[in-house]
């Protein structure tokens, strides 16, 4: 009996099941451009989540009738590998995956300058290889890096992070167990430059005051994730000398103009 009660506790002595403090993020590791054949790609390890994102485009849209005359057609596919969960997941897109594909698309689209490439398509493929709660946030975060890596013009990067409520306490970045046994989960995606929110969902029950607290915490988490994102891109591209000599001058020197 006592054992069961202990296992049900998600926070014990101020420490969560995976040893984190209530307002602590999981470890995030981001790899830019792991896929050779994609136009842009990113791999993210967010705690135990492992997600691979590939971006193709701008390219011709198929089927053709989807092409828009005034902007690029933007598509997202969020998919979980059959081996990504504890129990085998059937590979066909589930109701949940279709929903997450849609919210990811809506979260990313305002950041992309689609007007520059009319009649083309930009595709984002998010493949969850291992999941441990919070995959939509990790997927959005990795997607915006992959888009930047693909050279797709963007108004801003998009970062996502979740907050939630477990054992009556508002905490940052829920993992799978906390998501399952906790009271609520609030994933948020923002564009850090303007602070615009492009994804806001809530699963569970929170009082208005608790919701405000959770949102503020999630926004704070987003800012931390944004730093990791920038570091990852700087690490991948940033060998670029800031003090380039005369030679470097001719990068894009418009010799053909």
């Amino acid at each position: 009996m006592a054992k069961k009660a202990a296992s049900e506790k998600l926070i014990r002595k101020g420490v969560r099941t995976d040893g984190r403090k209530p307002t602590e993020l999981r470890n995030i590791r981001i790899d830019v451009g792991p896929l050779e054949r994609a136009d842009g790609s990113a791999y993210i390890e967010w705690g135990k989540n492992k997600i691979l994102v590939a971006v193709y485009g701008p390219r011709e849209v198929h089927p053709r009738h989807l092409a828009r005359p005034d902007r690029a057609f933007f598509r997202c596919r969020y998919h979980m590998a059959p081996f990504s969960t504890a129990e085998r997941k059937r590979p066909a897109p589930s109701r949940r995956e279709i929903e997450l594909s849609k919210v990811t698309r809506v979260a990313l689209e305002p950041a992309i300058i689609t007007e520059l490439f009319p009649r083309t398509g930009i595709d984002v493929f998010i493949e969850v290889l291992q999941s441990d709660g919070g995959t939509r946030c990790a997927g959005i975060t990795a997607s915006s890096i992959a888009l930047a890596d693909a050279g797709v013009p963007m108004r801003d990067l998009v970062v996502a992070c979740a907050a939630g409520k477990i054992d009556g306490q508002i905490v940052l970045d829920l993992n799978e167990i906390e998501d399952q046994d906790g009271e609520a989960d609030v994933p948020v995606a923002i564009m850090p430059r303007t602070g615009g929110i492009s994804l806001l969902q809530m699963d569970g029950i929170l009082s208005p005051a608790e919701f405000k607290e959770a949102l503020a915490l999630a926004l704070d988490g987003c800012k931390q994730v944004y730093e990791r994102q920038k570091d990852a891109l700087k690490g991948a591209y940033g060998q670029a000398d800031t003090s380039m000599d005369e030679e470097g001058d001719s990068v894009g020197g418009d010799t053909h103009e």
Binding site: A148, G238, M244, S250
Partner: protein
């Protein structure tokens, strides 16, 4: 209040480039009176025009550009050409021949077939229709020999160098013909297969290190080394 970022700073999408009376140039956009970057690259400005030199990006055709493409489809009176851009280019028969094409007497495949590589020039492009190509200029046409190297189109200007410094040096030192397509496809053809292989190797090096300083010097050094190595082999034989 006015603010301008230092030249050649590494920037990410959404980074502030300038504030105040500035214009957004390439790979930049304006929001109220601030100019931001929209691509990963290096910031730069000419007067009040602030822009970003992108480190990676796709090729957007411009009239007058020299491009290398692959014929991918054929219809009556025109070919479709993949020029490594988001849009498929179109090449009409009258832009290939200097006489009218008679479909009753000759086959289009006799002129160009699917799979052929061509060196062409962009005639026009306005994003409402696919870019149109032409072969009716000297030097343009079907490519029959040489090696192809692909490079991020945004790095092509680096390969050319300031006033052609890099490309002139390469052709001079390596004795290979290097034809640059603005779409990031490069044709290398030389009499000496060894030199051709070396050229390919150097082109890959330029792509990998396009954004670092002193590249021309390093490339010159490498060519010298390789050349002397080759001579060394010959003399020992």
């Amino acid at each position: 209040m006015s603010y301008l970022i230092e030249k050649r700073t590494f920037v990410l999408p959404g980074d502030l480039l300038a504030e105040g009376d500035y214009h957004a140039g390439r790979n930049a956009f304006k929001d109220s009176n601030k100019v931001y970057a929209s691509m990963i690259g290096l910031s730069d400005n000419v007067g009040r025009n602030v822009y970003v030199v992108a480190l990676k990006g796709c090729y957007l055709p411009r009239a007058g550009d020299m491009v290398i493409g692959t014929v991918v489809d054929m219809r009556l009176g025109n070919w479709s050409v993949d020029i490594n851009a988001p849009y498929e280019a179109i090449l009409f028969t009258n832009e290939v021949l200097d006489r009218p094409f008679n479909s009753r007497r000759e086959e289009m495949t006799g002129i160009l077939d699917v799979g052929d590589l061509i060196l062409a020039k962009v005639l026009s492009f306005d994003r409402t229709r696919g870019p149109a190509l032409t072969l009716r200029e000297s030097g343009l046409g079907k490519i029959v020999h040489g090696s192809i190297v692909r490079m991020t189109p945004t790095k092509i200007p680096r390969l050319i160098g300031r006033k052609g410094s890099m490309i002139n040096m390469l052709t001079r030192e390596l004795g290979c013909h290097i034809t640059i397509g603005q779409n990031g496809v490069i044709l290398v053809s030389g009499k000496n297969p060894k030199m051709e292989a070396l050229t390919l190797q150097i082109l890959h090096l330029i792509e990998a290190e396009a954004h670092t300083s002193g590249l021309t010097d390093r490339v010159t050094e490498l060519i010298k080394q390789e050349k002397s190595g080759e001579h060394g082999e010959k003399s020992s034989e």
